[in-house]
């Protein structure tokens, strides 16, 4: 297993945001985390990335216990992440943004620049463009490019495909596929079911801090608990109508 998170809980005072969540990720997998707002998936995600330290539980990455490790230590170990609200380095160009990530494995400027150029090309961005001039899709793409430059083994994508137009979404899905094709394991938090159904082979559904279901996307969306907590009655009606028509 590349990542083993066992019985992870996170409490904020009296409030228990994540309650004993387990997640095992094998090398080369793409796993989706879904659930309604406030279900605890982002907190769990932050526990994996090191932004938040779990109250209890254990996180092991590539055989190394990283439960209490800082985000920079996890990045060095090979865990990369993006943010729900893209946080680009506004005063820098696209290339320089990506170079910050590239410096992690390439301390010399020329090596870092060459590596960053390759990544920028892969993500289809203009290297000399100012980061502050990019729109939301560009910023999300830049964040992905920046974290890719750190050469992660595990990539945590936090709603990186939200807020895109249908065309942009298809491009972004293709990009995630290309990244996966490079041998990078991906855990993706997403509300867009199209993304989950298209990209992932396994899904965990969070509700009120618990993992209420896990399995293939097709099996998970049929579970009553998931429909009740997340997908809603509309989804059930559509499903029933589909079954009748069949």
């Amino acid at each position: 297993m590349l990542l083993e998170a066992s019985k992870v809980s996170k409490a904020f005072g009296e409030f228990l945001a994540v309650r004993g969540a387990d997640l095992n990720v094998g090398e080369g997998e793409i796993i989706g985390l879904i659930g309604p707002n406030g279900a605890g998936k982002s907190t769990f995600f932050n526990c994996l990335a090191g932004e938040t330290m779990p109250t209890t539980g254990k996180i092991v990455f590539a055989g190394q216990d990283v439960t209490q490790a800082l985000p920079e230590v996890r990045a060095r170990a090979g865990i990369g992440r993006t943010f729900q609200v893209p946080t680009t380095f506004e005063d820098m160009s696209v290339l320089h943004n990506v170079m910050v990530g590239a410096f992690l494995r390439h301390p010399h400027r020329n090596d870092a620049r060459e590596h960053a150029r390759r990544i920028v090309e892969l993500t289809g961005l203009a290297p000399d463009r100012a980061a502050r001039s990019l729109g939301t899709p560009g910023r999300k793409r830049l964040e992905i490019a920046r974290v890719l430059a750190t050469e992660p083994r595990l990539l945590l994508l936090d709603e990186s495909l939200a807020g895109l137009t249908p065309t942009e979404l298809q491009d972004a899905i293709a990009l995630v596929r290309r990244i996966h094709g490079m041998g990078i394991t991906i855990v993706i938090v997403e509300h867009i079911m199209e993304v989950i159904m298209t990209l992932t082979k396994r899904v965990l559904v969070f509700n009120q801090g618990h993992v209420i279901a896990s399995g293939t996307p097709e099996s998970v969306v049929r579970e009553e608990a998931v429909i009740e907590a997340y997908l809603g009655r509309g989804h059930r009606r559509r499903r029933d109508r589909g079954q009748q028509n069949a």
Partner: protein, 325 residues
């Protein structure tokens, strides 16, 4: 048509102007302005490393300036050493103090660092003002007459001018090297978003501490240069809050986080200050505060990036117009 101000020309021209300044404007008044300008530019450029590039706004950099100012005269007073021998000691002490202040405050987010720097600088000022070994409130005095060249006591301002210019060159060269390397990229990333920088493996606390230590070392050198020229120091002129505020304002006015921003800031502020001082004399001492306040309002309201950024925005348009003409 070539750009009317290429990057090479924009470096060579000011450098030549600075080199030739004492030969063209050789009167004592102008020389004094020149030396004051260089000292302000050194201090603000040193502040710029941590305050401008890393975005860690220190409002108590006078603590490093003061250490730098006191050490040369202390080694002279205690042991009769040439004041210049106090500079390396001052650098070591300033770095030590930077680590002591930075270690706990860089663990926290928010404005704790700024607040801590003000508090430490004020504490040191008050403490030094009551400490007999360093002359208490009266301060310390340097050699009245040079015992040799090593005392760096000159009648003319010209040697001071060129010594200060050389130090400014070293500070700018170091900053330019930092800008191009991983360290510089990390500083700018930290300024933009510590959270994002961390996620990319940037050792945020360590990088900030290194920036503060380097900035403190250069600020201490500025303090030493100041005292070697004036030959006298007291707690207020070494550790006073106005010293810290001046560094901050000069860098912010010209452009914090840019290589030449502090130079532009000093070029505007120092003649302005000199003008108000000579117009109003001692009675106009409060004007400095009004001037600083006005500049803060101006920068915050109209040009948060400073004048250097404004120039970078305007220059391409000017070039286009000239090209069209």
């Amino acid at each position: 048509m070539k750009p009317f101000l290429s990057s090479r020309v924009s470096v060579v021209l000011p450098a030549a102007a600075l080199l030739l300044y004492p030969l063209i404007l050789s009167g004592p008044f102008y020389l004094d302005i020149g030396v004051t300008f260089l000292l302000a530019a050194i201090s603000a450029s040193a502040w710029n490393i941590v305050g401008g590039y890393a975005g860690q706004v220190s409002v108590g950099h006078s603590m490093f300036f003061g250490i730098g100012a006191y050490m040369p005269l202390l080694v002279y007073t205690l042991w009769g050493w040439p004041p210049i021998a106090g500079i390396p000691i001052a650098i070591v002490l300033a770095i030590g103090l930077a680590v002591i202040v930075g270690m706990p405050t860089f663990r926290l987010t928010g404005h704790y660092f700024s607040m801590a720097t003000i508090a430490v600088a004020e504490l040191i000022r008050i403490f030094v003002g009551t400490w007999d070994l360093v002359g208490a409130a009266i301060g310390l005095q340097g050699p009245a007459r040079a015992r040799g060249w090593w005392d760096l006591t000159f009648r003319s301002e010209i040697p001071y001018y060129y010594i200060f210019l050389a130090v400014l060159g070293i500070v700018l060269l170091t900053t330019a090297m930092i800008e191009r390397r991983r360290f510089g990229f990390y500083l700018r990333a930290i300024k933009a978003s510590e959270r994002a920088a961390r996620s990319l493996g940037v050792p945020v606390r360590q990088t900030k501490l290194q920036a503060l230590a380097l900035s403190a070392a250069f600020t201490a050198v500025a303090g030493s240069l100041y005292v070697i020229k004036t030959g006298f120091i007291d707690p207020d002129s070494a550790f006073g809050i106005l010293i810290s505020v001046q560094m901050l304002i000069i860098a912010a006015l010209g452009g914090a986080g840019t290589l030449f921003g502090p130079l532009v800031g000093a070029l505007i502020l120092i003649p302005l200050q000199t003008a108000t001082n000579s117009l109003f004399g001692g009675g106009g001492s409060g004007l400095t505060y009004i001037l600083y306040g006005g500049i803060i309002v101006f920068i915050a309201r109209f040009e948060p990036g400073g004048l250097f950024e404004l120039w970078q925005r305007v220059a391409p348009r000017l070039r286009k117009r000239l090209h069209a003409a």
